[in-house]
């Protein structure tokens, strides 16, 4: 369990360092357009279904152009879906007014809003996952700093990221050692969890001390300078115009019903 999550995280992290067209887009541009995308999707009213469909072109483009394996992202989306499903499933139970009629079937408004929640859920979650799968975490931090997120917080994110994998590996070793010697449910209870976390905590504090020493050894004086300079390229600018344009178009015009009306006359 821990092992799989650890390796999944590492995999996602490695994906973010690929070199494709999508990966090369400036992180600021990707962060801004992802946020716009999410707000546009979420701003659709409760029962909107058809209007949301064109938005799926974005994850599809990110998946294909960014060389991101679809099944991997799908699995991650399914993994976090329970809360949204749990809350959303009450809608069809509680709202059974008919919404539309199709070939003799009546679909209730509750089901419409449930489908709407699920569509929004897959769109927004895949937006977050695809953002990190196509942009390195330090890149996102850089973008956040440019968007005026406080420096102390950005530095904190970068530090966390740097030691994430180190500490997860340490935790994984401890968990393996525990699981190797615990059988059935014995050994996995709170009684053993507490000292395990305690030991990990103390090791962490000691590590912080060593890191601090290493920082001092290199002249640390409370400031962390950043050297990264990204310059916007032509393709960045085209990307932002194209994505903002499409997002607005999809939000304002319901392409799905429009196309449907054309074809059905």
């Amino acid at each position: 369990m821990f092992d799989t999550e650890f390796f999944n995280l590492g995999y996602l992290d490695r994906l973010s360092y690929q070199n494709t067209f999508i990966h090369r887009i400036d992180p600021r541009i990707k962060l801004i357009s992802s946020l716009m995308f999410i707000v546009a999707v979420v701003s659709f009213p409760k029962y909107a279904v058809t209007g949301l469909l064109p938005f799926f072109i974005f994850p599809v483009l990110f998946l294909t152009l960014g060389d991101i394996p679809f099944r991997f992202i799908l699995k991650k989306i399914l993994f976090v879906s329970p809360f949204a499903v749990f809350i959303g499933i009450f809608n069809p139970l509680l709202d059974s007014q008919p919404a539309l009629n199709f070939l003799g079937f009546t679909v209730s408004r509750g089901w419409m809003s449930f489908v709407s929640i699920m569509l929004k859920f897959s769109l927004t979650i895949s937006a977050a996952l695809l953002l990190i799968a196509t942009t390195s975490f330090p890149g996102i931090c850089f973008a956040m700093q440019k968007l005026r997120i406080p420096k102390a917080f950005v530095a904190q994110l970068l530090f966390l990221y740097r030691y994430l994998f180190v500490l997860m590996e340490e935790a994984m070793k401890i968990v393996r050692a525990r699981d190797m010697r615990s059988f059935n449910k014995r050994g996995k209870g709170i009684k053993h969890f507490v000292p395990l976390i305690g030991v990990l905590f103390i090791r962490t504090v000691d590590r912080a001390e060593r890191v601090y020493n290493a920082m001092l050894a290199r002249g640390f004086n409370g400031k962390i300078y950043s050297t990264k300079a990204y310059a916007l390229t032509m393709s960045d600018i085209l990307f932002i115009f194209a994505s903002v344009g499409l997002i607005l178009l999809f939000r304002v015009v319901n392409l799905t019903t429009l196309i449907g009306r054309w074809t059905t006359g």
Binding site: D13, R14, Y17, S136, F137, P138, C141, L158, F159, Y161, R162, Y163, L164, F165, V166, R207, R210, V211, N213, A214, M215, L216, A217, R218, G219, F220, N221, K223, I224, Y225, S226, T227, K228
Partner: protein
């Protein structure tokens, strides 16, 4: 430039919990020397290294690095002279990318942003890791991490390179690469390690620490081939020498083999000294002191003769 680069005089150190780690350590390390520091676990090696860099200040006694006496006020300046490479590269590399990490020290030294790239690339190139510069540290192998950790320190251009267990966690090939890398450095080097073969390869001189004191100090070959001394310090002969001594025991030529080793070591030292004499002779000439230069050349000639005598002796052993 002062001759003695690091000088410990009767240094004592007691941790806040009352345990004493150094009990009168004294030694001098000169410019250009490579010194191995060995000793049992808890003998005080790490504490000693932490003093060279001013992380810890002696409870009593004095430490001089370059021309600075270590105290609260000079520790910042001393850190500019002394580059300390920590045992675990994960502690050393705390920035999100290799480039940022190597740049961290120089930026703190006040190097301007436009010259930083050059400095970083030079340091990475020295350790053969230039192509890793945009990677995050957690994507590196252990060997790469160790090399980059060294680059983070040499980017600051220290006079003295201090390393704590540089080769722990390395596979044999990476370890060998690291040894070659260290041998190539012209810095003053101080290496603490249990890897006695590494010390033997990299260092000319060796200091044995026991109970916070210097138990032995001398040429690495001599110290590391002294079985009794090493075993008295929870150490054992380096593997490379163990093999030799097995061979020697079978031919009962123990002492001769040892002498041969020593001669070899002496000659190496002598050759190096000879080169220095010549350098200084040239400098004296430039400064217009031709008589002094003449004498120095005389010393150089004598040293050359000495070298051939060592060769002769080696043939006879």
């Amino acid at each position: 430039m002062s001759h003695h680069f690091v000088e410990f005089k009767d240094v004592h150190f007691r941790y806040p919990d009352g345990s004493s780690a150094l009990n009168g350590a004294s030694f001098r390390i000169s410019h250009g020397e490579s010194v191995g520091i060995v000793g049992a676990n808890g003998a005080g090696k790490s504490t000693l290294l932490m003093h060279i860099n001013g992380h810890l200040l002696p409870s009593s006694g004095s430490i001089v690095v370059g021309d600075l006496q270590l105290d609260k006020h000079t520790r910042q300046d001393i850190r500019k002279k002394v580059g300390l490479v920590f045992q675990n590269p994960d502690d050393q590399l705390f920035m999100p990318t290799v480039f940022d990490d190597v740049a961290f020290g120089p930026l703190n030294l006040g190097i301007s942003a436009d010259r930083i790239a050059e400095r970083v690339e030079e340091a990475l190139d020295t350790v053969g890791c230039l192509k890793l510069k945009d990677k995050p540290p957690h994507h590196l192998s252990s060997g790469q991490k160790s090399a980059v950790a060294i680059a983070t320190v040499i980017a600051m251009r220290p006079d003295i390179l201090v390393m704590d267990e540089p080769a722990s966690n390395l596979d044999p090939k990476s370890r060998r690469q690291l040894i070659e890398l260290l041998k190539a450095f012209e810095h003053t080097k101080i290496v603490a390690s249990h890897d006695l073969d590494l010390i033997l390869d990299v260092c000319k001189r060796c200091i044995v620490i026991k109970d916070g004191r210097v138990a032995a100090d001398g040429p690495a070959e001599a110290i590391l081939s002294n079985k009794a001394l090493l075993e008295g310090n929870n150490l054992e002969l380096p593997l490379s020498l163990q093999k030799q001594s097995i061979n020697k025991e079978s031919t009962s030529m123990d002492d001769m083999a040892k002498l041969n080793h020593l001669l070899h070591h002496w000659k190496e030292h002598n050759d190096e000294h000879a080169a220095t004499y010549r350098e200084w002779a040239a400098k004296a000439e430039q400064a217009g002191k031709s008589e002094l230069a003449e004498t120095l050349r005389g010393i150089y000639g004598a040293a050359k003769n000495l070298s051939s005598l060592f060769d002769e002796a080696m043939k006879k052993t």
